[in-house]
């Protein structure tokens, strides 16, 4: 795939993991060697790193940000908390499994992962892109009913329109 060496990371900060990103993208570890550069807006990006615990309020922003990014786009869960809740495993206001709400292509475990781990994750992502296995954006379209359903289970009715036509919406349009 042509874009594997030009990953434009959305500079979206959540949780404590974002403190690892400034040294990773600047002179000391220099993510630009791997073709990663932070971009200002999600409409220009194709790599979305969720860098820490996700509260309900943040999840709302994450979904909106993810839906604004152009295809193809890749999501990486960064740190323990998006994987299974981490130290917030019994918190009342933190979601536990990020991949129930948006598709995730890869995980970088650790609390916190060091910049070296980030780059190992990036090289793994290259492999996945080469083999067409980093297909989260396709899965999001195909299973949008389930994703949107899970999102609405948490938030009630969402105050933005669906990104893709859900099955119920298609039925309504046909009727």
């Amino acid at each position: 795939m042509a874009n594997k060496y030009s990953l434009n990371a959305v500079y979206f900060c959540t949780g404590c993991g974002i403190i690892e990103i400034p040294p990773s993208i600047t002179a000391r570890w220099d993510a630009e060697r791997f073709g990663i550069i932070p971009v200002a807006t999600p409409r220009q990006g194709n790599l979305f790193m969720i860098t820490g615990y996700v509260s309900l309020k943040t999840l709302r922003a994450i979904i909106r940000t993810y839906e604004q990014m152009p295809d193809p786009k890749y999501t990486v869960g960064f740190g323990s908390c998006p994987i299974n809740g981490g130290m917030y495993w019994d918190s009342y206001n933190t979601i536990k499994h990020l991949d129930k709400y948006i598709p995730v292509d890869g995980w970088i475990a650790g609390c916190m992962p060091r910049p070296e781990a980030v780059f190992i994750g990036v090289t793994h992502l290259w492999t996945l892109i080469d083999k067409d296995m980093a297909n989260g954006y396709i899965r999001y379209r195909e299973h949008y009913d389930q994703y949107r359903g899970n999102q609405e289970k948490l938030f009630g009715k969402l105050d933005w329109p669906p990104l893709y036509a859900t099955a119920t919406a298609q039925k309504e349009m046909a009727a």
Partner: protein
């Protein structure tokens, strides 16, 4: 140290229990009727900064303890000797079964977000507060989540663990 503040407070509020901590902190426990007049009094005495409003859930005693933490940064205040920062902690108890109290926003305006926070996390109602709407939380909870009888593990099982994983239906 403010000269004679302890004596003045004891004279003005005879029912208050006042302890002077070694490192220039005052710890004052009053009944809930005297809180507003006490806050106004210590504000005039130099404690011009309300740093925090907090709450402690004493579930077995069926009481909430409201904690007001005040500071004095007035270095040029004539009543303050030396330049050290002074703290005053004011505590009062209210009923847990009917958790309502007066707002202090007309004395310290910056108490507004603290009282909203206590309202949504502990369920304490502040009478006279102009904007008692949720501050942080996205969901509504049966029991306010910072109360001791809120079972976080059970809540996680009921809400988050019940959300299904995405099933790949394609073969």
């Amino acid at each position: 140290m403010i000269d004679g503040l302890k004596e003045k407070l004891e004279k003005a509020f005879p029912r208050a229990a006042i302890v002077v901590m070694p490192d220039t902190d005052y710890l004052v426990t009053v009944d809930k009727e005297s809180v507003l007049s006490m806050l106004a009094y210590v504000k005039d005495s130099g404690f011009d900064h309300l740093a925090l409003v907090s709450c402690v859930d004493w579930m077995d005693e069926r009481e909430f303890e409201l904690v007001y933490v005040l500071s004095s940064y007035m270095k040029d205040n004539e009543q303050v000797n030396g330049n050290e920062k002074l703290n005053l902690i004011l505590k009062t108890r209210i009923s847990r079964d009917n958790p309502a109290f007066q707002t202090v926003t007309h004395i310290f305006e910056n108490a507004e977000p603290y009282e909203r926070e206590l309202h949504e996390l502990f369920g304490v109602y502040f009478e006279g507060h102009k904007r008692l709407v949720p501050l942080f939380l996205e969901r509504t909870y049966d029991i306010p989540p910072f109360r001791k009888d809120f079972d976080t593990r059970q809540y996680v099982k009921k809400i988050f663990d019940n959300i299904p994983t995405i099933q790949d239906t394609k073969e």
